[in-house]
Symmetry: C2
Subunit: 246 residues, 2 copies
């Protein structure tokens, strides 16, 4: 009887230990915990959000913070450890964070589905002469890339409307204001909204990178998210955006 | 003969004067020149882009720069005169720029068209209990507004996914990841993509403002653009986004 009394005394401990070990195992399996993602708009509104969707569906108890910001903020936030992973399109060398290549792709021309140029397999600057082209600010990396592409292709790049970000250019094309040359990720959310892309020629490569903090081991959740990113990677041009419930 | 010779001598002057006066008249009418617009995402991807579309269609020779940035950048850019007009949602007092009320509206719940809550005329925090709610970072103005609304409505606000901007929240809802409470402008681009909005209750008011530089008279082009903004203002909830070519 004394033994049983004593056992009753410590019985709650077993419950606590069971709960602890389940929690530890869940954390090891990446079922609970916290993931903080930060991305620039191109990947943040395409690949990143698709990866987050599968990630979250499989791990509803993981608390997630998901920010879309510009390049400087993404790099700073990853460097200071306020985010676990950063997603960017970038050609320049980053010194303050680890960067890993996710995939390479090429700039595309984004236009209405019923545009005569949609019949072409690729589009040169000369084909765009006389068209209303939404231009990307040449203070930005992608803007310089497009501008160099026009020069190499023997065209002149004099957009009547200039914007800072590819996402803004895509929104203006969706509003029927012209065509634009952007990265395929910025174009992706518009592919179900009456717009279509064709490769821009000469080919201008863009690299999608994963940024992580230097000197910090990757958590299980981070590795799961990267796995989802790779699984959602489109072959070539991104597939059209799926409507909810698809 | 001498008079005719002399006339021939000055004839080119008449052409120059004609061209000058046409150009001056065009500038007065706002047909040529330059307009620089900067906006935060909610208005920049809804009302602003619709106003820009009509503005540009009527004045194809006006060179336009159109940037979508966050609040601090918009205020700074207008203050320093690098943009002619700023568009923001804001409740706080701005000291460094002129601000003029464009319109008032209310926060809405954004959800898939087939969501059972779409049958309601307004949605309270209690109706959202147990749902996957995409939350807005409470470091932001709109995030605080939503959080206060949940408290007033007797609900608890514990989003499993948190984002910084309303636009990101809307993109996650479009991907089928839950529902969110956002301003009606951030919701607008998604209304043609299988999502619908209903008023959030208790009512949380958002004010759309026009910012201009202090001490600088408004140019003709600026006034034309403001006129387009007012013309494109929706009555109550914004109308669905029109596909290109509409």
């Amino acid at each position: 009887m004394e033994a049983r009394d004593l056992f009753e005394e410590i019985r709650p401990l077993f419950g606590i230990l069971r709960s602890f070990s389940t929690r530890a195992q869940n954390m090891r399996l990446g079922q609970i915990g916290r993931l903080r993602v930060i991305s620039t708009p191109p990947l943040g509104y395409s690949l990143g959000v698709r990866a987050l969707r599968s990630f979250h569906a499989a791990r509803p108890d993981v608390s997630v913070s998901y920010d879309v910001r510009r390049l400087e903020n993404v790099v700073d936030t990853v460097q200071t450890g306020l985010a676990d992973i950063g997603l960017v399109l970038n050609e320049e060398k980053l010194e303050t964070v680890n960067s890993e290549l996710l995939t390479r792709s090429q700039m595309v021309v984004l236009m209405p589905t019923n545009d005569p140029l949609a019949a072409e397999t690729s589009i040169t600057p000369k084909m765009l002469a006389g068209r209303s082209v939404i231009g990307i600010d040449q203070a930005s990396q992608l803007g310089r890339l497009v501008s160099r592409g026009f020069v190499q292709g023997g065209g002149s790049y004099r957009p009547s409307i200039e914007v800072r970000y590819c996402q803004t250019a895509a929104a203006l094309v969706a509003e029927g204001m012209g065509v634009t040359v952007v990265d395929p990720y910025s174009a992706e959310p518009y592919l179900c909204r009456g717009l279509v892309t064709r490769p821009f020629s000469p080919a201008c490569e863009v690299r999608a990178l994963i940024l992580t903090r230097k000197g910090v081991p990757h958590s299980g959740l981070l590795l799961n998210f990267v796995e989802e990113l790779r699984r959602q990677l489109p072959i070539g041009t991104p597939k059209p955006h799926h409507p909810p419930g698809y």
